[in-house]
Amino acid sequence: MTDRSEPILRLAGISKTYPGVKALQNVDFVVRAGEVHALTGENGSGKSTLAKVMSGMIQPDAGQIYVDGRERTIPSPAAAIALGIVIISQELTLAPTLTVAENIFLGRLPRNRFGLVDWPRLERDAEAALDRLGVHVSPRAKVSDLSVELRQEIEIARALSSNARVLILDEATSSLSEAATARLLDLVRKERDAGMAVVMITHRMPEIYSAASVATVLRDGQFVATAPLSETDEQKLVRLMVGREIQDFYGKRSVAAGETIIEIDKLATPQGILGPTTVSVRRGEILGVAGLVGSGKAEFGLALGGAIAATGSVKVAGREVALGDPRKAIQAGIGFVPDDRKASALLLVRSILENFSLAWFDRIGGRAGMLNLRGEQAEVDAAIRTYRVATGSSSPAISTLSGGNQQKVILGRTFVRRPDVLVLSEPTRGIDVGAKSEIYRMLQDAAEAGAAVIVISSELPELLGIADRIAVFFEGSLEKVFDRASADEEAIAHVAVAGASRHHQTSPHIGASA
């Protein structure tokens, strides 16, 4: 409706070069008030670099920035905020030891007439900001006690309470569940109607189509197109992003499921987040696990991987697995990959090689704990080829790789061990379309080779694409297991939101993320 209005923010001919790489080349980008504009492209396409330019985190080498038609420089994040440009990035920037309320109003805590912090008002204001987002968390809770997802939502509440005119969401949904994403998208639409300009940086198609009206695609640092989404279907958009067709996105298997390899009986966590859960998975089968954050699906994975204390019984190939110890889980043939790459999977300062072999000490360690360095190098080189990690050498620090390639290393080091059971939590979170497809193929191959694969994911479409059955958690219990034939997105979302027996209160926007 406000399509032809004066652009609130216009970037023209932006270029940015880093040693050895042209991150942005002559990129144009126009954002109007009252519009949700998707900025999309594969990892490394330059979209986050462009976001950093807009939010004052980096300075372009060339090009102009116009705010309300006036040429401006944005020398710092503070300058961007002063212009009403607020970014919410993938990197969380909360102070973990402070409370939720303190974080939301960090740097602008309300004062009373004595110049001291007005705590009651702080709490009220924080409460209001959280309510607006539909987040139910006490303003007095300490951030370090919260899940990654809640932290992300608090970050969003902070941005929204700061009078932003241009809101940049840089992969802001990458750590959110479907429900939280839906809430956020709802809010984005509301803010748009109130006249805010929203830039959504994402490669998640459902989000783009449910909230944005126009998309700008970057590829290899270059502007590809700005397309109205009403005239551009998903396939065309993906084609613009990757420059080629992606066939057969989720891959497939040609063998049927074999014998039951893992029997989980009344598995529960002592704190009660995960109630007694009973389910079995067969060789060659992929079990999808869905549910909202706090539904227990994450704890289900952690308990299977031995990462947290648990009660109940888990048998692999008929043998009882000692719970609560990752070493025991590994020895029993369970390969677990956690959801938070940075916090619990990557050795960021170490090499690709060491990140691979972290899980292989029994393979590369010889007598008296001596390493077989040559054997290690050979195994790593082979794994780099097998799992198509895009790197010329195994010696650079893993932090130099893109998220997708980092994830291939993390999955690969577990897959190489050929565990009987793979438990993967959010295996494609924050990863671009091309890498996702490759990871799906890795999962399919592992299942085909005889592993039972348990994939815990907040992305229903991917579970529908790869899983044979989908187990849905609600409030700590496994409510229902859908088989492939009966699995449809809306039914699953319904169980995830309301449980299997409670048939009321469907959330309308969950299903809309298809």
Binding site: P19, A23, G44, T49, R350, F361
Partner: protein, 343 residues
């Protein structure tokens, strides 16, 4: 398909495909300390004719051996993401044990073994509290700092023990002060120790575990590393180093003193930091630590040769420490900037 073809460092801080020589040099973790060491050495060589003489250089080696041995242990702890504040106190406590046993007429090997094992025992106590009772390493080693110090005073009422005339002292003296031809025995020993410490870091699963734990303890745990056991042994090693250091110290002073050199702990940690082992864990090595020890040793030597009051040495080494860490921080910042292209 778009793995950043940008500046990439490997985990040893070497450069793989750097855009410029300058960048490559700046990024190496040892460069700062090594260049500073060479500059200071060159300056001293020009201004102090005594500096480059063999006896003076060997004096630097000898007088910094205790620091060096403790710093090797501290390097392990810091790589694993911890810190041991108790090493200087543990050295004093072990030294008292060693001195009393020597003075009591025990055979040298027995006394040496007892001192080293006692140091290891003190480290094991730290390790147990930290690993198995999950008390913060900072709290434990801070408490241990004062307890070990106290122990050193209690055991002989604060009185030093002279071992000069003890029958078992001759071999200790030969080890600490003796020469093989022109080469001090202790230099050969230090080199052997450096190779051993470096070899364990590079060629064993234990060494690899240290880096993994320091880089990301949870990732290490989830991938089957016995984090508790490794952390326990890291502190045992730090204690072992203290025990070994106490033998050298007693040998040099010809007596065991409960008094702790107040600069010892600071010098040890400074050497580790200047040598490029990051306090954030997961990075570093003993070669850098050696450079750090030499650097601080040469500075101290230079100040002495120049006739500067020893009161100034703390100023200089403290200032250098802060400067070196700032330089290290700049290096990381530079690296991160280069990596943060695209998304």
């Amino acid at each position: 398909m778009t793995a950043p073809s940008i500046a990439q460092t490997d985990s040893h801080g070497r450069y793989a495909g750097s855009p410029s020589l300058l960048g490559r040099v700046l990024q190496n973790r040892y460069t700062g300390a090594l260049v500073s060491l060479l500059l200071v050495a060159a300056f001293l060589a020009l201004t102090q004719p005594v500096f480059l003489t063999w006896p003076n250089l060997m004096n630097i080696v000898k007088s910094n051996t205790v620091v060096f041995i403790l710093a090797l242990g501290a390097t392990y702890v810091v790589i694993a993401g911890g810190i041991d504040l108790s090493v200087a106190s543990a050295t004093a406590a072990s030294a008292m044990i060693f001195g009393l046993l020597l003075a009591a007429g025990l055979a040298t090997p027995v006394a040496v073994a007892a001192a080293v094992l006692f140091g290891a025992f003190l480290g094991a106590m730290n390790g147990f509290l930290i690993s198995y009772l999950k008390i913060s390493f900072f709290v434990v080693t801070l408490g241990a700092l004062s307890m070990f110090q106290s122990f050193a005073l209690i055991i002989n009422d604060g009185v030093s023990v002279s071992v000069f005339s003890a029958p078992g002292f001759a071999p200790v003296n030969a080890f600490v002060n003796g020469n093989v031809g022109p080469v001090p025995v202790i230099l050969i020993f230090n080199i052997a120790l450096l190779l051993l410490a470096g070899g364990v870091l590079r060629y064993t699963t234990f060494g690899r575990s240290l880096y993994a734990i320091g880089a990301n303890m949870e990732a290490a745990r989830l991938n089957g590393i016995d984090v508790k056991r490794v952390m326990f042994f890291v502190f045992v090693i730090a204690g072992l180093a203290a025990g070994l250091g106490s033998v050298v110290q007693v040998g040099r002073l010809t007596s065991a003193s409960a008094e702790i050199d107040p600069t010892l702990l600071m010098t040890v940690l400074a050497a580790v930091l200047i040598g490029g082992t990051a306090f954030t864990g997961g990075e570093g090595g003993v070669f850098g630590t050696m450079i750090g020890v030499l650097f601080l040793g040469v500075i101290q030597n230079g100040l002495t040769l120049s006739g500067v009051s020893s009161f100034w040495q703390g100023m200089v080494s403290g200032g250098i420490l802060i400067f070196a860490v700032w330089l290290g921080g700049m290096r990381q910042l530079l690296r991160r900037r280069r990596q943060s292209t695209g998304s």
